[in-house]
Symmetry: D2
Subunit: 259 residues, 4 copies
């Protein structure tokens, strides 16, 4: 006797002997060879085809998060590959486990702030006033404001103006970006130091412009980082670093052991 | 005293206050907004920019592996999201752990067979003879030949001719595809049943044509599947299925418990 | 030139040709065969050997979290094993990704509440008053109070009295348990319904009595669940269920597809 | 209409309002407080309670694999925790992804060799002859023989005699251990160098004596390593190393960048 409270329904995809349906489209005839990976990601997440402009902007966001050099996540994937070369998928999975709150996962936080901020806002809402309230709340709770400031990129994050320019050229420079700029201005005044909009903040704001709910935004970073981690593993195969990184650490712990 | 057997060197990327370098390119000025995610993946893995034709073919391969409906991996990501909604990255990672030998990871196997087969082959090598040897070896060890046959798509996998056609139009229909076709013909004769080239086989052969080493091929599936799993989580947020799937299984196990 | 801000030091372990040191003990002669896995877990986490009483209580906590039947995590590990039987470690890892806020990870939350509640409390602190404040805060924020109430186990969670009795017999029934009982009493009065201390709550409180910082408490659940998930995989090898669970879901999604 | 090819049945566990059943036992009254974590692991995997002797031997095996110092897996868990401190379970999961063929996962391989070797062997089978055949096969395929030799522990692995002694004292020194000793002797003669039985080999052989199928043996290492990785995260909370390890690598890659 199977309990069946709710029928399982999904629009993602299914197959028959001679057809493959993805998002209610004929995959073989209508998508394959006619859509790039970024546009396919938009289709999968939003459940509808992107316009050319949407696909262009979304690809730019995805490309930005692919490669940030020798990050903790890249080191993780390399170390797991050293130990389990037969399971490359597990090496990527391990690195992705680190796309969290501290590194790479932050566009979720700024998108939530912006979407909460504009949820019930009238079309002519006073953005500086909303920004002031957001900054007040974070300062009051001694929380950092997501999306602004960067430990290395000063005085500005060089990716931000390019991302905003791509958004603008394609018709996606709207109220979410404006609110983030107002937050940035208010925070710099209140805290009296440069707090430029960083790439994560810009991406979070543009994802809002593209209509992505904040809860899925970390997933965008996960897609991009999956690309980057496979890249690191390809380099690790040509030029292994993980063993050296591991052996140095093990040796140093041994040399520094309590006597 | 740090043991230092080997200097750590990587071409993947690094940053200064005002520049971001990826693959020895100025990311902000030369890549951002000028490259799609599929081309970026090619650059990351191969360490060089793809031509337009390469980017087109590679995007087609990536797009093919994104969405296969309600797979074990998609169910996995949904179940982990049910239990840990605060860590979306872990839900994707869990699903990716299943991109293994049985589902989705198989292009690695066919690429290895093809690359081993043509490793020392002269330009005018006898492909049917090589195919015969490969089929012999697999039949002798009672191993399935990777890349041919499909439990559902019969008599042909509808994606295969489209993928080969895209490869051909862009100048990538070469000896690896020819060898796979020879393997398919030989296997059908020897085993006396239809064993069409499946999409995984076609992808493995085209990855060989594009110059990807077989060891990284599973990584291509991992990238695609990361896109698909984020798509499933986006649908799960709109229309949750995981709790129903779980509760039915738990209830049935209870109802069928030994007395 | 290696930047070296801080020497890497760790007490966890190291080896020479003829010795193995774990937690500054001679592993081969002083630990192997003389300590059970639960006591070893205490040593690893706390950095000191447990007393017999501590080992007894800690083993009871660990054992409680091992097996909760056909959970989302168990289904996850089985589905990943179906897809990647060659990487059993990835199947367990995938299941563990789901030891999050909703299932199995909750002892962290109650331990934080209790440790925050008693951080600066005098020895004769008024526990009911502290409990009142904690309940007020949660009710005010409309947050559920962790560690009390259970969807199935009513009117009491049968594990709780046994766990508290084991703690008491071994000298670990102290102020954290008393505070949790006061929270339970206050919440039942305020919310006017039975909200018994559940097993997760009891475990969180006893972990506090044993001196575990709240941040590591989820790790205790992870250890236990690793045991349980390997158990599920052992059963899956003897009696496979994952394929059936997957095929039913895939079939139902197909049958319910939009027309 | 649900397809239902096979009823879902599991002996692992289920609950009612006032009972919790695990492995067809009353968990609260018959297991909780009466069984340690190692014995519970045996019950979960084998589906029956261990004898005291079995529990003693199995705990010794589990304890051996917990802590091997600053391994790639330990570094992995620390790096993921640095990036995602809110998801400790994902940090452990990432480290476990590395319990593969190269590190820590090897008892599976030796158990398979031993179980294959004795599958159809008569009670008085000639173990040296079987050992000779096994060594021949590996040497012929130029494969290392699992379970013997160690890069650091020479001339012997100090854990091996202790593990065999614990097995012997409890009545588990049987044919699998004898076959491994014969393999070791044969290999040392054939290859003319010391190839002592390492701890992984000893554990694999003793798991065979305890009746564990080779396919589950990697799971034993996974359980132990989960304990060790939670230990490393507890130390990382007290004494963070991951940021230093990461920053050094990132800095060195920057300093060594191609010009």
């Amino acid at each position: 006797m199977v309990k069946k409270g709710k029928a399982l329904q999904s629009r993602m995809g299914w197959s028959t002997a001679d057809t493959i349906t993805v998002q209610e489209r004929d995959f073989t005839n209508d998508l394959l060879g006619k859509i790039d990976l970024g546009a396919m990601a938009f289709l999968e997440i939003q459940g509808r085809m992107p316009s050319d402009k949407e696909a262009r902007v979304f690809n730019a966001l995805l490309v930005t998060l692919v490669e940030h050099g020798m990050t903790p996540q890249a080191m993780t994937s390399r170390l797991v590959y050293l130990a389990s070369p037969e399971a490359l998928q597990a090496a990527v999975a391990a690195g992705l486990c680190g796309v969290g709150s501290v590194f790479a996962g932050g566009s979720e936080q700024i998108a939530k702030v912006l979407q909460d901020g504009l949820r019930d806002a009238a079309p002519d809402a006073d953005l500086p006033a909303i920004a002031r309230r957001i900054v007040d709340e974070h300062v009051g709770r001694k929380q950092p404001i997501p999306g602004i400031g960067h430990p290395l990129h000063k005085p500005i994050d060089p990716r931000t103006p390019v991302l905003f320019s791509i958004a603008e050229q394609n018709g996606f420079r709207g109220r979410y970006i404006a609110l983030l700029e107002a937050i940035c201005a208010e925070a710099e005044t209140r805290l009296n130091r440069p707090l430029p909009i960083n790439a994560t903040g810009a991406i979070g704001a543009i994802l809002c412009e593209l209509g992505f709910p904040w809860r899925i935004c970390r997933g965008i970073a996960v897609i991009s980082r999956a690309v980057g981690l496979v890249g690191h593993l390809a380099e690790e195969m040509r030029n292994p670093l993980a063993r050296e990184i591991w052996e140095r650490a093990e040796k140093e712990v041994f040399d520094n052991r309590p006597q």
